[in-house]
Amino acid sequence: MQGVDIIINLLKIVIVFSALMLCVSIMTWVERRLSAVIQYRLGPNRVGPFGLFQPIADGVKFLQKEDIIPAEAHKLFYILAPALAVIPALCAFAVIPFGPTVTILGKQIGLVILDLDGGLLWAFASTGLGVYALVLAGWSSNSKFSLIGGLRSSAQMISYELPMALSVVSVVLVSGTLRPTEIVAQQAGSFLHWNIFGGGFQLLGFILFTVAGYAETNRNPFDLPEAEGELVAGYHTEYSGMRFAAFFMAEYINMMTSSALGITLFLGGWQLGLPARWLPEPGWLLWGAQILAFVVKMAFFQFLFVWVRWTLPRFRYDQLMNLGWKGLLPLSLANLAVTAILVVYGVVGH
């Protein structure tokens, strides 16, 4: 690898990392204002116009809290768990293409950090590693609420990894490749070519993926393990200050990663959804529009996450596990079977 390539990769990493962190802080504001709109009340509106500086105030609040470690807690894992939560969440975003191949100063640069041959597997590997943070946080806090919350959260996460993986496998059947950049490239053209519509007939797969995504990220209606009033706060009961903020960040980043995966697989990634003859010439107008399309789709998904959280009541834990194993899993297997038949008879597939 030449030096220029290394610098370009580092730049991409810095850009994606800062964008993700910025989006996390924007999301805290969006969550609070949007929940206020849904619940017919005002949200934070004192800290700057429309409460826009609220994330900064939150950050300062977290930073100045006392650093508490419970008495008999296992120190190493207690300190390690928040980091273990954030790192896999960030790593999963590395394979997601957030833009087309742009040409800067005569050099072709694909707007994806890692163009792996098995890119989707990398995303699954990273989200799978996120389970350790929950288990270790719950165990190392030396508290019954934390332990039960941690075990429940991780059991929920691994249960819903299956329907998620199976719906992704259906998309892989249609696309014939595990590489996210190719999957996005195959969804070019009008939006009817997206995998969710005519490109792959994956509407059921998309719904399964989104529902499993809500359960994977421990968001309502699947947030029993961490809801107040249920288990105090589940695996992050004993955490305060910046450590709790790290778990918070990890949850938002997981939300964004799962939305980004869903967009790449089902909604055409950065494709604009317009037929080729309506698109302008390849240049910064087109590329900027495509990156913007990706951002808009992500924003829609985040809005959906917040909307669903503040609208639906939450599942009881056994209802949640029932839904995962007896509802979503058979449906995703059926989706896989139907997709396989469609691919064999040439209705879809590349």
Binding site: D117, L121, W122, F124, V131, V135
Partner: protein
Amino acid sequence: MELIAFFVLALLLIASAIVVITNRNPVSSAVALAFNLVAIAGLYMVLDAQFIGLLQVIVYAGAIMVLILFVIMLLNLREEAKAHPAGTFQRILAPVTALLFAIVIGRAVWLSAPSSFPEKTEGFGTAASLGKELFTRFYYPFEAISLLLVVAMIGAVLLAKRKVS
């Protein structure tokens, strides 16, 4: 570049393996083993076996180790007790035997393996090449292993069920 990656990963591998075999707290050795497995996956990626490396993280580090951690926490296992004084002879003999074992295998390997890797063949380690072989030449073993997994699942559920008395 790859040499640096290899040496760093090898160091991490041996260090975490030593933690696995010596630490008395089962959760600590489980987490060290998970770290070990991810490091081995890194080594697979260095050796260009991308698909197997990612599969290693998903299956081993992401599923099997979580299962082991779950069982440790459900059984609420404490720190392991100190070893019996009666077994002192065995506890000295074990590392010595293992060392001899390692020396014999290491020497055999040193004499028989080539001293540098050949060029990577086209499509080595990709999902496509493995899938093609798996569903044509190795079709019967594939079906057999899926049957084995079902049997293991049923066996595990039956063995761990609480008897309704």
